[in-house]
């Protein structure tokens, strides 16, 4: 299979319903060589999306492609090039870490023993340690070691940093940054921590209540979203402006949030009698919260 001929993954119109939750008509794709951060609150559907992608769940509608192969029909072939780690995944407690390493190495011909040994040292893990004796952070590191030493072309990480202490989180993200240097490899990284996502990802997808709220490249998010402080004289009422996501009015001051910021907006506001006193870039977390709130209002209305 040609490396660049297909996306790392593509979900098209995917639907999956459970008793109290529905992932609805989700479409999302990641070109090869890119890192996507999937951000959403707890229960948004991130894990369900990833489980559908890996073939652990079967969609009720829509199609799933992973490394150019149809899922779940060709999941065994697709997973040769994919490593998957989730925060609720565990290794076998009664076996040692070096047994797990030999086990995974026996399955993957591309297993990189030298890299595995380097990661052992880097993560400060002992190969003769029984898995049941590992701490939460060590367990995640062990899972990552087993995933990374396979040298996968797509690394799928479902909330890998949740429950990790700041030092372990930093080590993990640094290792991911190293992988990212190899441009032929892709990563899908789900988290509710926008700082982690902002640090390593170049594509971002916001998901909430089973729906895709927005997905685009990180720079475009950061460039388009702005928060404007306005000075509005008494008696001036602002008309409904296009591309305004939120408008919070005070007595004289107003805060306007837009997802399509252009300098021309200043002119439009001044024509209405408002004066722009400040323009602030927004953090990914602020953009995420504003996007989700807008999406919820749209759904309700």
């Amino acid at each position: 299979m040609n490396d660049v001929a297909h996306n790392a993954f593509a979900l098209r119109g995917v639907t999956k319903a459970f008793r109290h939750f529905k992932l609805d008509d989700l479409s999302l794709e990641l070109p090869m060589g890119q890192i996507m951060g999937m951000v959403g609150p707890n229960g948004a559907g991130k894990s369900t999306t990833i489980r559908l992608l890996i073939g652990l769940l079967a969609p009720e509608a829509g199609t799933v492609e992973l490394m150019g192969r149809r899922i779940p029909a060709q999941m065994a072939d697709a997973k040769r090039d994919v490593a998957f780690v989730s925060d609720d995944m565990r290794l076998y407690g009664l076996a040692r870490l070096d047994w797990h390493m030999r086990f995974v190495a026996s399955i993957f011909p591309d297993w990189d023993e030298r890299y595995a040994q380097k990661l052992l040292k880097h993560f400060n893990l002992r190969p003769d340690q029984y898995v049941k004796g590992l701490s939460r952070g060590e367990h995640v590191k062990a899972l990552l070691l087993l995933a990374l030493a396979r040298r996968p072309r797509l690394l799928v990480l479902d909330e890998p940093t949740s429950g990790l202490d700041p030092v372990a989180r930093h080590e993990l993200l640094s290792e991911l940054m190293e992988i990212v240097r190899d441009e032929s490899r892709s990563i899908l990284f789900s988290s509710h921590n926008t700082q982690d996502v902002e640090r390593i990802c170049d594509q971002i997808a916001f998901i909430d209540r089973g729906k895709l709220v927005d997905a685009r490249d990180k720079e475009s998010f950061l460039e388009r979203w702005r928060r404007l402080s306005l000075d509005i004289p008494a008696g001036v009422a602002l008309p409904r402006l296009k591309d305004v996501v939120d408008l919070t009015l005070g007595e004289r001051l107003a805060i306007l949030t837009t997802d399509r910021y252009e300098p021309a907006l200043h002119g439009a506001l001044e024509k209405c009698g408002a004066r722009v006193t400040d323009v602030q870039r927004m953090s990914l977390e602020e953009i995420f919260v504003a996007s989700v709130m807008r999406s919820r209002v749209e759904v309700q209305s």
Partner: protein, 223 residues
């Protein structure tokens, strides 16, 4: 590749079950040896022998299916290059192999002891031993198939309680004088009851394996 993943997963389960496999072999053989020491030896050895066979099977099935689910190691195994159905088939294969290794060894030793010349054992007990071991295997097979089908711990516990009740009923029936009597002689007699039991056990094994395969083939979600 797919074949090697399948067998790597089977070997993985055999490795993880090695403690129970060794325990079943050692305890089963020692218990059988003890049965040769008079009535007390027969009572104690027989009880321990049955416990090793039945409890070993229950621990094995629970460890392989419920334990893996509770430990949340299933997601790790399913991250490997195998389909969900392929993984279930590997699990079923490992489940049967893990039990058959001690079962074949223990049954072989028991039959050899009854059949070898000058052993002092009643040769008719061969039939008793075959029915008993056949039942243990059939019960394990039914237990394995049932645990494949259930997803909750509560249902798993019910299956185990049900299999224990079934075993108690079987032992009560097997030890009735009119059934056990003809078997406890030097003459190997395949009585109609023995024949019916063996056929029933074979049907139970085949049916439970078929049901497990059917349940797997219908499963769309694997976690």
């Amino acid at each position: 590749m797919k074949r090697s993943v399948f067998w790597a997963l089977v070997r993985k389960d055999l490795y993880l079950m090695r403690g129970i496999i060794i325990m079943m072999i050692v305890v089963g053989l020692v218990a059988f040896f003890v049965t040769g020491f008079g009535n007390v030896g027969l009572a104690i050895g027989g009880l321990v022998f049955l416990t090793a066979n039945i409890a070993g099977g229950i621990f094995m099935a629970m460890g392989m299916l419920i334990g893996e689910r509770k430990e949340m190691a299933r997601a790790f195994a399913l991250s490997l290059p195998i389909s969900g159905h392929g993984y279930d088939r590997a699990k079923l294969t490992a489940g049967y192999l893990a039990y058959l290794i001690p079962w074949v060894l223990i049954t072989g030793v028991v039959l050899w002891e009854f059949l070898r010349p000058h052993s002092g054992a009643q040769r008719g007990m061969v039939v008793y031993a075959v029915i008993l071991q056949g039942f243990a295997l059939a019960m394990y097979s039914v237990l394995l198939a049932a645990l494949f089908g259930v997803t909750s711990d509560g249902m798993g516990a019910l299956v185990i309680i049900g299999s224990n009740i079934l075993f108690s009923l079987f032992m009560m029936k097997l030890n009735q004088p009119e059934i056990a009597g003809p078997l406890r002689t030097d003459h190997i007699a395949w009585t109609p009851f023995a024949q019916r039991m063996l056929i029933g056990e074979l049907i139970a094994i085949a049916l439970s394996a078929a049901i497990a395969l059917f349940v797997m083939s219908r499963r769309r979600d694997h976690i």
